[in-house]
């Protein structure tokens, strides 16, 4: 069955430090991967998707099919990056997104 694993429930880093939020997926075909973010008291919103290959708010994520991973990275964390981050998987022929359990990122001053 398709699955998304985010091994860290909580990740704390200091401001200016690099950040890596891990995401591994289980799917044998061609996946579409997404990162969604939820800031405090706000709704879930798309941060980036792998097919766009873009950097949003300094975040990037590369799909590694060999390792079945889609880790989210930022070289220098900012306090405003503190939020809940969800990795999600979709693929051709399905209507659904399969979400991971999320990682709470805390950026400390």
């Amino acid at each position: 069955a398709q699955r998304v694993t985010q091994p860290e429930k909580l990740l704390s880093v200091f401001k200016g430090a690099p950040v890596e939020l891990k995401c591994n997926y289980s799917y044998s075909g061609s996946p579409e991967l997404f990162w969604y973010v939820q800031y405090s008291r706000q709704r879930l919103q798309l941060l980036l998707r792998h097919i766009s290959r873009e950097s949003i708010k300094g975040f990037t994520a590369d799909l590694n099919k060999g390792e079945t991973s889609f880790h989210l990275k930022k070289p220098f964390a900012q306090e405003e990056d503190s939020a809940m981050y969800y990795c999600a998987l979709s693929f051709f022929g399905t209507y659904k997104y399969i979400f991971g359990t999320g990682t709470r990122l805390k950026v400390l001053a």
Binding site: L46, Y95, K96, Y97, T101
Partner: protein, 117 residues
Amino acid sequence: GAGVSQSPRYKVAKRGQDVALRCDPISGHVSLFWYQQALGQGPEFLTYFQNEAQLDKSGLPSDRFFAERPEGSVSTLKIQRTQQEDSAVYLCASSLNIAGTRSDTQYFGPGTRLTVL
């Protein structure tokens, strides 16, 4: 512009009561999704509508859950005879295009937090 809206934002129900949760998607969006998010978990897919057609209801946990979108815009998720395990945040999302071929960006509503006592 207006995003996806959901009402009520909070609902407390006694076990056994029926509840109805409403979702207003972004105008013109073809696809509408419902998700259930339990405490400490990620959203879990419940059902999908393409316009008024319910094309996938594989995620509905029991026959107590029913969803409709009769005119292809507003959708209602109904839960009959609520149980404590139904307590969760119910999220609605919409996307512009038809899902299932290439995944389109899903825009989420703020959610309805349901508490069953």
